[in-house]
Every structure is written in C-alpha cells, then in structure tokens.
C-alpha cells in the first residue's frame, strides 16, 4: 500500500509522453504517492493528453504541457502555466534526453549539437527556471535529473550521449551545493538497460540474440522497469530523501559495476 508521501506536492516531469518512457515511469510513481503531476514533452500532444488522463484516474491533478526544454522561453512558459494552474512547483524530474549511436570517428557535428542541445541545455533551462520558482516559494524543493549508468561507464557506440552524462556529476553537484541554502536537493538517477522507446533503435539490440546477450550482461539478468526508475525518484522527492543531495543512484541491475556486452 502506497504511503502517499507526496500528497499536496506538485511535480513536473519532462520527457514523459511515451507510455514506454522513463519519464512516464517517473510520473506514474509520483502520482501513486499522491503528487499532482505536469507531464511534458517536445511534441506528442495527444500522447501527453492520454498520460494526463491516466494520472487523473489515480485521483491526482495532472496537466499536459508541450514545450521544448532547449527553448528557454518555452520552459519559462511551462513553469508559469504550472504555477498558474496548480499553484506551485515542488518537484522537478528533469528527465528529457536523447541518444544517438555511432563510434567516435563517426560523430557528426549535427548529431553532437542535437544531443548537447537537449541533454545539456535542456537540463540547464529546466533546472534554472524551476530553481528560481522554488526559491521564490521559499520552502525548498526537489530536483532529480535522469542521467545514466553512462555517467561513469563509457559505452563505445554512444560517445556524445556518454559525454553529456559524464558532465552530469559536475552539473548536479554544483547545483546541489548552490541550492542547498534554499533547502533544494539536487540528485540524479542512473538507469542502465531499460527497454524504453528511447532504446528501440539501438543498433546492438535488434535481434533476439542481441537482447539475450544484453540480458546476460546485467548481473540481475534482466532489463530495468520504468517503474523502478520512478520509485527511485520518489525516494529523492519525498521526505525520505530530505538529507540526500548531490548524489547519484544507479538503478541498473548492477550493470555499472559489471561489463557491457561488446
């Protein structure tokens, strides 16, 4: 039985339109604990509406907002709408991110720019706008970013994605230090192998043999569930996580201390 640890809290989750996304796993987990949730994505308005309806069915308030996290004006408008319609903002799961697969010598400027735009600038915009709102509210807040097991473990065919995730330790750490005086905690979660929509095009996970090899490379011998990512965010967002900041939590079945399949 859920303890409803987040009743009365308002949360924003970016990158949550796809029902097979970590963002949705996070949104559901927060709503299951009683939080009102804004679900955001760069497009997919119909999907966002469907996600919001599903959250309503859990008995919480929910709002779908389309916004490009790399566009500061859109992010500001999203925060403003959240506050206007739901009254406040307590929790942000800055989760939106993209991935591209290629080897180091094949990195192209265009693909690199795309990844940095969303994975770095998107996080900067969302966290800055959210922090400013939380500081104005004056009673703390919770920011949780979705990074990856690739914050530490470099995977050969995702060089730029891995680069942006390595950067997260410093980004999260610096924010945690700077926002601590305002009682805002900042942490990140490190999913490993999750069979989310994001990973569908992974070139090394297309055949049954590939998937089986990937499964065996994980110590706990399976892929992660988006609900498991969500419940880690609940920890950071709830009173249970009140004394945790600047931390990184791998939720990867042990992949980060094991070896990738090559």
């Amino acid at each position: 039985m859920r303890k409803m640890r987040l009743k009365g809290k308002v949360a924003l989750v970016t990158g949550a339109a796809n029902a097979r996304s970590i963002g949705w796993g996070i949104a559901e987990a927060l709503a299951d604990e009683g939080a009102d949730v804004v679900v955001n994505d760069v497009a997919m308005a119909d999907e966002l509406d469907a996600r919001a309806s599903a959250l309503h069915a859990k008995g919480v308030r929910a709002l779908p907002i389309v916004a490009d996290v790399a566009n500061r004006a859109q992010v500001d408008a999203m925060i403003a709408q959240t506050v206007s319609e739901l009254g406040r903002l307590d929790i942000v799961a800055s989760n939106a991110g993209i991935i591209r697969w290629e080897r180091f010598l094949d990195i192209t400027p265009a693909r690199m720019r795309q990844i940095i735009r969303v994975n770095v600038l998107g996080n900067v915009n969302v966290c800055q706008a959210a922090a400013q709102q939380m500081i104005a509210q004056g009673d703390g807040g919770r920011i949780v970013m979705t990074s990856s097991v690739q914050s530490d473990m470099q995977y050969p065919i995702t060089p730029v994605y891995g680069g942006t995730k390595h950067a997260m330790h410093i980004f999260v750490g610096a924010l945690a230090l700077e926002l601590a005086p305002y009682n805002i905690t900042v942490n990140h979660i490190g999913p490993g192998w999750v069979r989310s929509a994001l990973n569908d095009p992974a070139p090394d996970q297309q055949t049954p043999e590939d998937l089986e090899a990937q499964r065996l490379a994980v110590p706990l011998r399976r892929d992660g569930k988006i609900s498991e990512m969500g419940r880690a965010v609940v920890y950071f967002a709830s009173d249970d996580g009140a004394y945790t900041t600047g931390a990184f939590l791998r939720i990867d079945g042990g992949l980060g201390i094991s070896k990738y399949k090559i």
Partner: protein, 266 residues
C-alpha cells in the same frame, strides 16, 4: 631524460603560460612542435586567420599558427593541413566563473562548443592520420579539477570538461588497437594570466593554505606530466585522468571558498 626525438607534436589551444610551457618542454625533449591557436581566442584585430600565419617571431624551436575554428569543417581542414602528428595536446578555449543561477544559456552553449565539441573535432582530425600511418599516437586532453569535483562557480566550465573524460575513454577503447592512447590532465591552481587577479599576496596565502604541497602549480608542472604522457614511459596508460593539483582536490571541502574572498565578485 625523456626523449621525443623524431616525434611530431601539436599543442592546440589558446596561447597562455601553460600551452607555451608544454610546447617548450616537448621541443626541448626533441619533438618537432606546432602550436595551433584558435582564431576565436586571438584578441580581435590582432591577427588574420590562416594556418600559415606565424604569430610574432618564431618562438625558439617551435612554430605557432593561428587556425580557423569557426566551423567543424574549418577545424578539420586546418588540422589536416598541419599534417600528421604523433602527439596532440588539446586545451579548452572557454573559461567562465559564475553561479549557476547567474549563468546564461549562452555561457553553457559556449562552454560545450569551445571545450567539448571542438575537442572532439580536433581529436578526430588528428586520430585519422595516426591510424593510417600505423605508428600509434598520444592524445592528451587538458582539463581541470573542476571537472572532477563540483564547484559552485564553475558548473559550466567543469561540466563541459567532465564530458572530456568520456571522450578520452572513447578514444582509448576505439583506438587502443591502433596503439593510440588518450588521457586527461586535470589541472589545479596554476600560475597563469587568468589566475593572476586571485594571486595577490593575501589571495595566494589563502589558496596555498588549501593545497597540501603548499604552493600554486607552475606551468612547467603541467608540461612535465604532458611530457610523461607523450613519452614511451606512459605507453601502457590510457583512459586515465591524472590530477596535477598539489593535492588541492583532497582538501577542498567547501565549494564556496574556491576563490579568495573579496577579490572577484561573482
């Protein structure tokens, strides 16, 4: 004595005390050294673009060029035109210190473009001839302790250089079979023009109190580690990060006290 006789080295980055020290050190060890300064870091109006343009007089035994870093294509073109090298040392072009809440999207854009994306293009350009020639190679990325530990004033700078750790690991894994190594040198406090405003007598005393070796680093300290990594002595070192900081990271316990109080407003 470390010998780099017969080796060619490229030192890429803004001209400063560290890049000069590295170029001189490798040159003194016998390498043929080319220093390549990104045009965007040259004071406006001071120099024309062009990779044959020699800055000032030829400084001792190494030659300095200014290259066009405006676009990936120009970076790639100019790096390739400089010819194959055995050793490439890549320094960041952007620095900024500001609180995250005062940083702008442009700060972050610049940090990642100048410090990470450009390093990727340069590394790609120098790696391809290394692979083709089959003699191995050394790629050394200059970074900072702020990419290893968080400092509130250095979130963009530190994050952009933290991404370089991933780049070094990437090159190490993919190009290891070609005997190409990639490593990172994480610099602490060093005597440079940029740090000079902090290094007043009181500022220096404040900073040195937090360094186990009780002194600010010298450009030669960085150059010496680069020389080691460029040499045969480091043949089995790859994907590593070597802090050259006098132990600074070990004692920095409060992110707000990085800079001496009162000197620079954040």
């Amino acid at each position: 004595m470390i010998e780099l006789q017969g080796q060619t080295a490229l030192v890429v980055g803004p001209r400063d005390a560290v890049s000069v020290a590295i170029a001189e050190r490798l040159s003194a060890a016998g390498a043929a050294v080319r220093a390549a300064i990104p045009l965007s870091t040259v004071p406006a109006g001071k120099h024309a673009a062009g990779i044959d343009y020699v800055v000032g007089s030829s400084e001792g035994p190494y030659t300095t060029y200014v290259f066009d870093d405006s676009y990936p294509e120009t970076i790639h073109g100019d790096m390739t035109a400089l010819g194959p090298v055995d050793i490439a040392i890549i320094a960041p072009s952007w620095y900024g210190d500001q609180l995250f809440l005062k940083s702008t999207p442009e700060d972050w854009e610049s940090a990642f473009t100048q410090n990470y994306e450009k390093a990727v293009y340069i590394a790609q350009a120098v790696a391809r001839p290394m692979i083709d020639l089959g003699n191995g190679g050394r790629i050394i990325l200059l970074s900072t302790v702020a990419a290893m530990l968080p400092f509130i004033q250095l979130s963009a700078y530190g994050a952009s250089l933290a991404a370089l750790r991933a780049l070094a690991k990437m090159i190490a894994v993919d190009l290891g079979p070609h005997r190409i190594t990639a490593n990172v040198v994480a610099q602490g406090w060093v005597e440079t023009e940029r740090n000079a405003p902090h290094l007043t007598p009181e500022g220096r005393e404040y900073i040195e109190a937090g360094i186990p070796l009780k002194r600010v680093g010298r450009p030669q300290d960085i150059a010496n580690v680069c020389l080691f990594l460029a040499s045969d002595l480091a043949a089995y070192v790859t994907g590593a990060v070597i802090p050259v900081d006098g132990g600074f990271m070990l004692t920095q316990s409060d992110g707000e006290t990085l800079f001496p109080p009162g000197k620079i407003a954040i």
